[in-house]
Amino acid sequence: MTAALSRSTRRLERFAGGPWPFILPGVLLYLALSIYPILYQSYLAMTDMQVTSLSSAQWVGLENFAFLFSDSRFLDAIQFTLLFVLITVPVQYTIAFALALLVDQKLRGRIVFRLTYILPLAISSLIIGLMWRLLMHESAAGFINALLEQLGIGTIPFFSNPNWARFAIFFVNIWSSVGSTMVFLLGGLQTIDVEQLEAATVDGANAWQRFFLIKLPLMRQISGLALIFMFVGTFGIFEKILALTFGGPANATFTIGFYMFATAFGARGAWGTTAGLLGRAAAMGVVMFGVILIFVLLYLWLVMFEREEA
């Protein structure tokens, strides 16, 4: 009896003196608003919950998913979102790597260069979309079109031509997030062992060889991390779409994130969407999470694979 008591007391003491009293309050709150909603969402996706009747939702099983996978608008949105990721992530990675190499050089004023490249990170995605909407405006007031007109090239229908609208959102997204990838890669470049580069130079390696044979392989791990961040971040794009193209023209830039938001909360009556359908929006959230999970698991699998090899 006393032995059992003292053991539990000791356990309590160890608990109170251990890391958990410090870690748990924050982490439990965090999990309650990060993991729990994801689980709760899988339940919501099986109901017909609407914004007007939160408490009287009926269980509908897989009906929402059945609807989504027969909804051409949803399938188009998924397709476009994946296209978005597959096109912009490699471009963004390449530009970010080039910029990181550039500001890693001993250039005069490289602090200023570095600062300006990450400037868009300080600006709200929504405001970035709005700003570029004005810059790319199709009227004579839009700077880019005014400039092109002046040069005798003619204007570009950034927001009325589907392909140009897609180009516009791809460009703006890369413009706004390339800086964070650059910072990531720069951090990696700065951990590369100088002596190794030195030795290679002594052995007669030129700048290109040093890059492809030494720097790039050493950057593999950090590149993987940067890529997974880009994949996930781009896949969830919404605010820039809302402010820049509003999914148009003719749904050419309609992403899954935008569709989900419009279905749940409305977005000034985005074409043909019915607002307030929380159950259906939750089902879209589940699909989005599923895709992200696949990306993350793929990444983790690659990391493990790498470790086993090493």
Binding site: F22, F113, A122, I123, F143, G236, L242, V296
Partner: protein
């Protein structure tokens, strides 16, 4: 670390200069700067131009005369001052909550060894990767059932709690860099753990705390999605949501929109520019440490 960087650049710099054309590097660097900075400069110019210049001289960056009308208008006609105050309240409140819980959690993680710590940290990192957008629907319903939709405290809570994982990762690096001898000395003197954190450890990591506070502040200041779903009452809107409602069916008033956008951009860009050394170091440290 700084000396190392300088040392290495000094070694590799001149050598690269031999192979590549140095002025070409500068040209590329400057061109990139223009691409990133120009839009904001143009926005400033558009907000100060007289209305006739907007269509007649869109390429002129220097306005023919400075016209402050849109600034007057945006503060007089729209409730933007109210939105500014709201944004400030939410961003600061959220950051303070994040800071409090992150300090405790990162202390616990830095000063103790336990089974599965590495897995736990990786787990936090991965959970944090999932964009907030993916869970706005369940979060809205949860907050609604707690009666926190359309309340300021509800949004502040969401901001504050949402930052804990990042904040914990961020500050753990700073705690790790403080020698444990400092804790032990405090413990010998009879200080409690909380007193040790508050009086001994935190004062040595003020730059880290400031960097985290600023990063979180900027993140909340710039948020649109969470605020848009949580606050449906016009008076409670933060700047981003308020500005979005200013965009009419067609954005005819270029000057008003530019001005409103600048009201949102300028405060954070100023803070960001002054403190970028901390911020870049902080971001890079977070990326490299694993």
């Amino acid at each position: 670390m700084a000396t190392q960087t300088i040392f290495r650049s000094a070694l590799s710099g001149p050598r690269l200069a031999k192979t590549a054309n140095r002025s070409l590097l500068y040209l590329i660097a400057i061109a990139a700067t223009v691409v990133f900075v120009f839009p904001v400069i143009w926005l400033i110019s558009a907000s100060l131009k007289p209305n006739v210049d907007i269509y007649r001289a869109p390429l002129n960056l220097i306005p023919s005369e400075v016209d402050w009308t849109p600034y007057e208008k945006v503060f007089r006609v729209t409730p933007i001052a109210r939105y500014l105050l709201n944004s400030f309240t939410y961003a600061l409140g959220g950051s303070a909550i994040t800071l409090f819980f992150s300090v405790l959690a990162s202390y616990g993680l830095s000063r103790h060894i336990f089974t599965g710590k590495r897995t736990f940290l990786t787990f936090l990192l991965i959970v944090q990767l999932v964009p907030q957008l993916v869970r706005v629907v369940p979060i809205y319903i949860m907050m609604s059932s707690l009666g926190l939709v359309n309340t300021q405290i509800g949004l502040i809570l969401l901001y504050g709690v949402g930052g804990i994982a990042y904040g914990t990762w961020f500050l753990k690096g700073y705690f790790d860099s403080i020698p444990k001898d400092l804790d032990e000395a405090a413990w010998m003197d009879g200080a409690s753990k909380f007193a040790t954190i508050w009086r001994i450890l935190l004062p040595t990591m003020v730059p880290g705390l400031a960097a985290l506070l600023i990063l979180q502040f900027i993140g909340h200041w710039n948020d649109f999605t969470t605020a848009a779903i949580m606050l449906r009452v016009p008076d409670l809107r933060p700047l981003t949501v308020g500005i979005y409602t200013l965009i009419g069916p067609d954005e005819t008033d270029f000057r008003l929109l530019s001005t409103a956008a600048l009201v949102n951009i300028v405060p954070v860009v100023v803070v960001f520019s002054f403190l970028q050394r901390y911020l870049v170091a902080g971001l890079a440290a977070g990326a490299v440490k694993r």
